[in-house]
């Protein structure tokens, strides 16, 4: 499909580096699915659909800066929804969001809450100001917070915070955040033998976004993050490149 035109209707500054853009179009997406967001004349980048009609962008480079600076009335192109999305399983679930990783998890939290599920949500950030969607998540379940600098909640890593819970008591864990954090979470789950009860949303360099070009495939399965993912069950990732390396736009391996 060609990109749909989406006009910005609302700009919400969530944190000093993260901005939500609401638009005039709704995409009928599953939680965890993404869109290819086109900043015309510049670049097209994958973004989780944090809202049916919106995305939540962390400023990291050129395209995300342009998005973060958009005003109401500006427009972008969106192709999607793409990818598989999260699958709700069980009654008692945990969501683990690191930084902008909260973006794909917010619609999941809302869906789970609307179905009456018991939600425990662990969110982490570098610093208190950067916590994403704390308030929105609170409306869906009980929220625990960790910050690297201790400015809010637990001082330290999300994984340390997770240790305070009886992880085996959750039917499913849903995870999105920086790769090394996700690797840490996966290790914890694996240590407890419950990695099959987890779903991770991965990040790789996307070109086509539709499963054809191969830019986003991961080793050793050859699975395409854009089409077979971005959500993978934890056990599928154990012997994978996750946390070891990823590839840049040329296809070259970049070691973490």
């Amino acid at each position: 499909m060609k990109p749909q035109n989406a006009v910005i209707t609302e700009v919400i500054h969530e944190t000093p580096t993260i901005t939500t853009l609401k638009t005039d179009i709704k995409l009928d997406a599953l939680p965890g699915q993404f869109g290819m967001v086109w900043v015309r004349g510049l670049d097209e980048v994958p973004m989780a659909l944090s809202h049916p009609d919106g995305i939540t962008v962390q400023r990291v480079g050129e395209a995300t800066a342009a998005l973060s600076d958009m005003q109401v009335g500006d427009s972008i192109g969106i192709r999607g929804p793409f990818g598989n999305g999260f699958e709700l399983k069980g009654n008692r679930i945990m969501l683990i969001a690191g930084g902008v990783g909260g973006a794909p998890l917010l619609p999941l939290a809302r869906l789970a809450h609307s179905k009456g599920l018991d939600l425990t949500i662990v969110i982490g950030a570098r610093t208190g100001d950067e916590l994403l969607f704390e308030q929105q998540f609170s409306q869906c379940g009980s929220v625990s917070v960790a910050t690297d600098d201790g400015s809010k909640g637990h001082h330290g890593l999300i994984t340390e915070l997770m240790n305070q819970f009886d992880l085996e008591s959750f039917d499913q864990c849903y995870v999105c955040g920086p790769e090394l954090m996700m690797k840490g979470v996966l290790n914890m789950l694996q240590a407890r033998g419950i990695e099959t009860h987890s779903q991770f949303s991965l990040h790789r360099y996307f070109k086509c976004g539709i499963g054809v070009c191969g830019a986003c495939t991961i080793d050793p399965s050859g699975q395409r993050v854009c089409k077979d993912g971005p959500v993978f069950q934890g056990d599928m990732l154990i012997y994978s490149e996750l946390g070891k390396y990823h590839r840049d736009a040329t296809g070259k391996k970049i070691v973490y």
Binding site: M1, E44, C213
Partner: protein
């Protein structure tokens, strides 16, 4: 039920079936190539590899149209030195691995081929329509195509295929140049030049503005090219362009293709190789034919 034999000998390589993963599609990594081999491809072609790392064109690099796909990847690749290791992983798939190679002049092709040793064959991409200074520029000049092919043949100890662009006045002229240069087979076709514009803004959609059309839209173009090349050349023709169903493979083979490559159709399903192969087998069985009966059949019907 006896299993229909779909094996085919192609420039000395033994393929279990005549479906091949096309260049640039799910061929960035060894694992991905291996996965496609495991999904039923009779052989796999790598992403086109060059001499220097290239990030390719800015996104959007590919999208689906009502009819077909447009892409302008811009030959992203980590250069042959970095890619060499992927070949070994790809070969674990157990099917022939063909290294697609691009360059600006004969020496580059030779250097890359020497560096990418271990491939079962090389496919010379002289046809990418959207890489400045490469591709189409190279592939539209018969003299250069002949020289590149000759240089590649000298560098390679395995078969060399030459992949042709349809964006020329006379594809047969280029095919003949490849044959004269010693090509073991020609592959037809690469994408057809095309472009789409976002009517909401006026911007060309592809980051590179224009690119290459693939998928169902170009199948009749590819069939015609294969038909003409089969008629003119005495080396095998490998057909590619818009194949997504077994019927498409039958058509391409009737036009003269000894094997077919499948690219864009992995969009619908990576099972496309198994599906096409199964359909081919059913077709042959129900018509009491073997593969050789359908290869070039359209020529025999009209008496050449």
């Amino acid at each position: 039920m006896v299993k229909t034999d779909l094996s085919v000998e192609l420039t000395g390589l033994a393929l279990e079936n005549p479906t091949i993963l096309a260049a640039g599609v799910l061929g960035t990594t060894g694992s991905s190539l291996k996965r496609m081999a495991n999904s039923g491809a009779g052989a796999v072609v790598t992403k086109s590899i060059g001499i220097e790392p290239k990030v390719g064109h800015p996104n959007p690099t590919m999208f689906k149209l009502d009819c077909g796909f447009l892409n302008a990847m811009g030959l992203p690749n980590p250069a042959y030195k970095e890619f060499r290791g992927e070949l070994d992983i790809a070969k674990e798939g157990g099917v022939p691995v063909i290294a697609s190679v691009f360059g600006a002049h004969p020496d580059e092709f030779s250097e890359i081929i020497a560096g990418l040793d271990g491939a079962d064959a090389y496919e010379l991409n002289v046809s990418c329509p959207h890489a400045i200074g490469y591709g189409a520029v190279v592939g539209t000049d018969p003299v250069l195509v002949e020289e590149i092919t000759r240089a590649a043949k000298q560098a390679a100890s395995v078969p060399v295929w030459v992949k042709l662009t349809p964006n020329v006045t006379d594809i047969v002229e280029i095919g003949e140049a490849a044959r004269k240069g010693g090509a073991d087979a020609v592959v037809a076709v690469n994408t057809v030049r095309g472009m789409a514009i976002d009517i909401h803004s006026g911007y060309p959609i592809l980051g590179n503005r224009f690119g290459g059309l693939s998928g169902a839209a170009i199948r009749p173009v590819a069939v015609k090219c294969v038909y003409d090349l089969y008629q003119a050349l005495d080396i095998p023709v490998i057909g590619v362009g818009g194949i997504s169903k077994w019927q498409d493979a039958v058509e391409m083979m009737m036009a003269g293709a000894r094997a077919v490559q499948i690219g864009s159709a992995v969009f619908d399903s990576i099972d496309v190789f198994n599906d096409v192969t199964a359909g081919l087998a059913r077709y042959l069985a129900s018509h009491s034919m073997v593969l050789d009966d359908i290869i070039g059949l359209a020529h025999r019907k009209v008496g050449l």
